[in-house]
């Protein structure tokens, strides 16, 4: 088993993880909650490998067990996320109202190519090379009455069409310059 001290981490990251572990000590079921907090706290909203190793050592469990949890749930990211997130709902109502077209449109617009993406149209995530945008899908937002639905930086857009989504993304793209 990994010794916690052998992992190279910045002091504040170490302390943050330590505080989470001691807060939930004795409750092994809280692994998911701890991982969610670490990811939320990371500026690029992901779980770097060395964080996972450190956490496993601190919790006294094999890194493989932590890794198996992280890779199982779609909420966890193992790669840095873009500054902006465009999330396309792939629920049934959205699918029947053309959400695949929205997904294809935004991928084309941002120039996301094979290799920058993982998964199929049902469950994909990809980040642009410049790290500005992450495009991902969600199984269902539960916003079916507004289908098709997209979420741009945690703001829900209901009844969205290709042109409206294109404008939203273009706005963010221009805003950063």
């Amino acid at each position: 088993m990994m010794v916690a001290d052998s992992v190279e981490l910045k002091r504040e990251d170490r302390e943050f993880i330590d505080s989470l572990v001691s807060k939930h000590r004795g409750r092994p079921g809280m692994l998911l909650t701890i991982l969610e907090s670490i990811q939320e706290n990371h500026p690029q909203r992901y779980l770097p490998d060395d964080f996972l190793e450190y956490l496993a050592a601190r919790m006294g469990m094999p890194t493989a067990q932590v890794y198996s949890v992280v890779t199982f749930y779609s909420l966890f990211n193992l790669k840095p996320q873009g500054k902006h997130t465009v999330c396309i709902c792939r629920g049934t109502a959205c699918h029947t109202r053309g959400s695949l077209r929205l997904l294809e449109g935004v991928r084309l617009q941002l120039g996301l190519r094979e290799g920058e993406e993982e998964g199929s149209a049902d469950k994909m995530t990809g980040t642009t090379a410049d790290g500005k945008f992450t495009v991902r899908t969600v199984a269902c937002f539960g916003q079916c009455a507004l289908a098709p639905v997209a979420e741009v930086d945690h703001r829900i857009l209901g009844h969205v069409n290709e042109r409206a989504l294109e404008r939203e993304v273009e706005y963010l793209r221009k805003a950063r310059r």
């Binding site: 909420l75 629920g91 539960g142 079916c144 507004l146």
Partner: protein
């Protein structure tokens, strides 16, 4: 916050809540569920808050959950003392000032009102708002709510979910108080059993039995879990329930905890529902502060801890054993049962898991008793179920109906059916574990057993309505893609089986499937269903099995004809417009060619795809408009009128002869094969064009004296000038097609003659025989049938027409007859038995007729035609109809009432449908379809039961329209050539065009151009063409509106 420890503190909190619900100054509450917020409720709330503060008004402003009709959001409910509670819909921030003006003056803004509530039954209590406002419908009188019974959603949209006192005000926590005072847990479990409350997560297991097991289990620790990992795509009931009424869930669980002896409860909520998580956490904290949760609840010595865990995005965690794994901090992979959670669940202790909605039913059963509960719903499945009604219906939202309600009530009565111009095809219930139920089975009552019989399940309550734009093969593929990626990978049948199924379904949608794939799909489905470890795998094949069962035709279309009629499977179609066109015109190509200012190339492209482009350009029903993706942005591209423009420009521009030469250059060398075509209508002409182009010698037999069929003899001059048709026919004559006019097959020449004289025969006889209707008086002088009437006029024969004409019918023939009679100087009324929106005629035509002065009477069915003294018509009597139940076409059936209306008239034109001459068909010896009285042909080749005899058009489809008819002619030519030549030569016929394959960088801002109608009074005077086509500039701008769906990744 004061803890509630006895009846007086309980009542004090109850009273405090009532003061907030019914404050002396009035109340305004904004629906702020996620659906409301997604529609702008947040901005609205702030505008209201600023307005109230700025003006110093005394209204109590509150946030509530969603009241149900999500498509009407943002919803605001307003209450003024003494008046009913009024639900306002689609309220925008700019309405706020006027809204506050009204309310502060004591007025209800009725123009924004959806409905009113005079008194609300919260089940655990009643709130009397007031009466009045007679012009507003009561909530259960509007179609969306009619028949709904709100038990689970009793509080949603009415009380503030963030204020426990409002929940107490409507009788909340009363059930818990009662249970704790009675101190008789067994009795409560007996009540739940007697109520026959079944698990609302989908499996439908008896809740009382599960609770009993947990109660009897002996352990120090026992857990209750609420499964709020609502992962079914297309379902969002639990989200709204929690967002609107979190305390209802908590109360159910605390009662459950007390009666089962559980010590701790866990709420497992999807992380994708942040608002639900937030409100639940808030409610838990409030309940703890008030002593309704935690230690020593209500001072009765019972303690119950409740905590919330967020799921991390794994569908399989809806499976109870996987959920437990996840709570224990592991990957959510299910474990085999037994042991069941009731024996060994979370941390190895006895555990009970129920769905969100199940918990909401607990307090009502405790307060009202099981006998009350079983009054609603069906005997085996009492109570209600909340459904999320979404997809292709006009009204979407959360619907709570008694179990056993038929599907059509949901789709048509509540949902309002498909959007305009569309038809509902099926309903998908139960998400990835359910199936698609075809519209023919919409009489099915919705409960656990009946849906299972159809191969679907009720599931958690998702109901996604699909229309003709949805491909059932794609839907099956979509769900398998979903379950395939959500499979945890533990058991082989699910992991490997779904992978294989997805590969097969991908072959179907790509048009590469084989016959063996069809069988394998069925076999794999059964194997995965029977052998998987958990519910995910066991039910994953349901979407495939149900579509195979109810929509097999669509699989066969993909497999054998490489066709996806819905136009969803991209690899099987060039573009949605091409796919919807009966002639499969390459529409993006001719648009692009014209855009590049290559009119002649555009014409060649058009005429090779459609040999009658100017005629169809005027009269086609343009199904392409309905499928154009541009319609999602503003309006469809006007494709029909652009190809009409292209054809007209060539015919009138003096370059037609050159163009005919260009077409002839593509003709194949003579083959020496001889083909006969019976009928020179659009179907026969199209078939003749293509067969002649492929080098065959073609003879057309026609019983009239000229070619064109319905185009010449049924369509009035003002819609299609004969000169246009004559122009188009030049090309067919120049191809050397021979015509034998005035020849009646069966009389002047027999089918046997044709068989010996020709190598192949194509039958394309139109529907010239009028449908016989039984109506007293049809034999009278002055009663005409539409087609003979139009035909006589086109042959310039004299038709005796009176001054007052009544036309019976709602199709194109009815409108054509009406507008023609009007032009002959008559006063015209069209009588139709259904509603205007149900008329099969092209809507532009019905409107044009109305502008010209044609009057309509809807919902009237002819009863008898009244004769005068000289044997002529003097009037027609009609029975008023009302709209009855929905039929399988999705239209309400007209039901005659006893009330008779009389319309004075001297002429009646019957336009109630046409059929094929059956006598000819019977004599032909060809096989007929048993039921439909049509010719039976192979759907894929159009070959009849007699070898080398093909048929198309109305003969095999019944009365249809010009483009459909021509589509059959084209398809028959392709297959006849293949049969005659023993080789598939069809693709070689098409000229190659070089044109831009770059999609537009931006969507053009230009709006759709329409053709120009002459002023109604002017055009109604004569038979000149009633419209003028697009101008050159307009046609060019239209081409720039195309989104170029034909260009896809990889081909540019």
């Amino acid at each position: 916050m004061k803890r509630i420890t006895d009846l007086s503190s309980f009542n004090a909190a109850h009273e405090a809540g009532l003061k907030k619900l019914l404050p002396a100054a009035g109340r305004i509450a904004v629906g702020m569920g996620t659906c409301g917020v997604g529609n702008g409720a947040e901005g609205l709330y702030h505008a209201l808050s600023d307005g109230i503060q700025g003006r110093g008004l005394g209204f109590h402003l509150a946030q509530v959950g969603c009241y149900g009709p999500c498509s009407e959001e943002p919803l605001v409910n307003v209450w003024l003392p003494g008046k009913p509670l009024v639900i306002l819909h689609k309220v925008q921030a700019q309405d706020v000032a006027a809204l506050l003006d009204d309310l502060s003056a004591g007025r209800i803004p009725e123009e924004l009102a959806l409905c009113k509530v005079e008194e609300w039954d919260h089940i655990t209590g009643r709130v009397k708002y007031g009466s009045g406002l007679p012009d507003l419908p009561k909530w259960d009188e509007i179609p969306f709510f009619a028949g709904q019974s709100k038990i689970v959603l009793r509080n949603c949209g009415l009380i503030n979910p963030g204020d426990i006192e409002e929940y107490l005000a409507v009788g909340g926590y009363q059930a818990l108080y009662k249970v704790l005072i009675d101190a008789n847990p067994e009795m409560v479990i007996e009540q739940i059993k007697a109520a026959k409350l079944r698990g609302r997560g989908g499996a439908g297991y008896q809740t009382g039995l599960k609770w009993d097991m947990l109660r009897k289990a002996v352990a120090d620790q026992k857990y209750l879990i609420c499964n709020a990992d609502e992962g079914d795509p297309g379902a969002y009931m639990n989200r709204n329930e929690i967002e609107g009424d979190p305390h209802g869930l908590i109360e159910g669980m605390v009662i459950g905890g007390y009666v089962t002896g559980a010590t701790e409860g866990i709420l497992y909520v999807r992380a994708e529902y942040p608002l639900a998580v937030h409100r639940l956490n808030l409610a838990i904290q409030e309940a703890e502060e008030r002593g309704l949760l935690g230690e020593n609840i209500l001072g009765r010595g019972f303690s119950f801890k409740l905590s919330l865990v967020e799921g991390a995005g794994a569908f399989v965690c809806g499976e109870e054993t996987a959920l437990i794994q996840s709570l224990e901090g592991r990957a959510g992979r299910p474990t085999p049962r037994p042991p069941y959670p009731a024996e060994s669940g979370l941390w190895g202790t006895p555990t009970n898991i129920n769905n969100v909605e199940t918990w909401y039913n607990v307090a009502p059963i405790v307060v009202k008793g099981p006998a009350w509960f079983t009054e609603t719903g069906s005997p085996k499945s009492p109570g209600t179920k909340v459904f999320s009604l979404v997809g292709k219906v006009q009204r979407t939202g959360l619907v709570e109906m008694p179990l056993g309600t038929p599907l059509k009530t949901f789709v048509y009565d509540i949902g309002g059916g498909a959007p305009p111009m569309k038809t509902v095809k099926s309903v998908q219930t139960g998400g990835p574990s359910g199936g698609c139920i075809p519209k023919e089975m919409f009489d099915t009552p919705v409960d656990y057993e009946t849906l299972a019989q159809l191969g679907s399940i009720m599931g958690s309550g998702g109901m996604v309505v699909m229309d003709e734009d949805n491909c059932m093969v794609d839907v099956a593929r979509y769900f398998i893609e979903f379950t395939h990626s959500e499979s945890c990978g533990k058991c082989v049948p699910c992991r490997v089986g779904l992978d294989q199924m997805l590969a097969i379904l991908n072959r179907f949608t790509a048009g590469k499937a084989t016959e063996a794939d069809l069988g394998m799909l069925d076999e794999l489905s059964r194997m995965i269903r029977d052998m998987s470890l958990c519910g995910l795998g066991q039910t994953a094949p349901n979407p495939v099995l149900t579509t195979l069962r109810h929509f097999r035709q669509e699989f066969e279309d993909h497999l054998r004809a490489h066709r996806c009629r819905a136009g969803v499977c991209e690899n099987l179609a060039l573009s949605p417009c091409e796919n919807s066109c009966p002639l499969h015109m390459n529409i993006p190509r001719f648009l692009e060619l014209l855009k590049a200012d290559r009119l002649e190339d555009a014409f060649l492209s058009v005429v090779m795809d459609n040999p009658l482009p100017a005629s169809t350009g005027r009269v086609c029903q343009h199904p392409c408009d309905n499928r154009c993706r541009r319609a999602g942005i503003d309006e469809a591209v006007n494709m029909r009128d652009v190809h009409c423009y292209i054809a007209d420009s060539i015919y009138k521009g003096g370059r037609y002869d050159e163009m005919i030469e260009r077409v002839l250059q593509h003709r194949f060398p003579p083959t020496g094969r001889k083909v006969a075509i019976v009928g020179a209508g659009p179907t026969g002409l199209t078939c003749a064009f293509y067969l002649a182009m492929m080098g065959h010698s073609v003879t057309v037999y026609e019983n009239n004296a000229d070619a064109g069929g319905m185009l010449r003899y049924a369509l009035p001059e003002y819609r299609l000038p004969k000169s246009v048709l004559d122009d188009e026919l030049k090309l067919i004559y120049r191809l050397g097609v021979e015509f034998v006019f005035n020849s009646v097959v069966g009389e002047t020449i027999t089918l046997n003659d044709l068989s010996t004289m020709y190598d192949g025969v194509f039958l394309s006889i139109g529907t010239w025989k009028e449908t016989w209707v039984y109506l007293p008086g049809t034999e009278l002088k002055g009663v005409l049938h539409a087609l003979p009437f139009l035909e006589a006029l086109s042959k310039e024969e004299q038709v005796p027409l009176g001054r007052k004409v009544v036309v019976i019918g709602g199709g194109n023939a009815a409108i054509d007859s009406a507008r023609t009679a009007l032009r002959m100087g008559a006063e015209v009324t069209v009588i139709y038995r259904r509603e205007r929106k149900d008329m099969p005629a092209i809507p532009e035509e019905t409107e044009a007729a109305e502008d010209e002065g044609v009057k309509y009477v809807f919902l009237a069915a002819p009863h008898r035609i009244v004769s005068g003294e000289e044997g002529g018509v003097v009037a027609i009597e009609c029975a008023k109809t009302t709209l009855g139940e929905f039929d399988s076409s999705g239209r309400r059936k007209p039901v005659p009432t006893g009330e008779i209306q009389r319309f004075e008239c001297d002429t009646v034109i019957l336009a109630v449908g046409e059929t094929v001459d059956l006598d000819f068909l019977k004599a032909s010896g060809l096989k007929l379809k048993e039921k439909e009285k049509m010719l039976d042909v192979s759907p894929f080749t159009l070959e009849t039961s007699r070898s080398n005899f093909y048929a198309g058009g109305d003969l095999i489809s019944g009365a249809s329209n010009v483009s459909n008819a021509m589509g059959y002619g084209k398809k028959a030519a392709r297959n006849m050539d293949q049969k005659l030549m023993g080789a598939f030569r069809w693709p070689k016929l098409w000229p190659e065009f070089e044109y831009s394959m770059v999609p537009p960088a931006h969507v053009s801002e230009c709006r759709r151009h329409h053709i120009h109608e002459l002023p109604a009074d002017e055009r109604a005077k004569g038979f000149m063409e009633a419209v003028t086509g697009l101008t050159a500039v307009e046609a060019m701008e239209e081409t720039g509106r195309c989104l170029r769906c034909d260009i896809r990744e990889g081909n540019h």
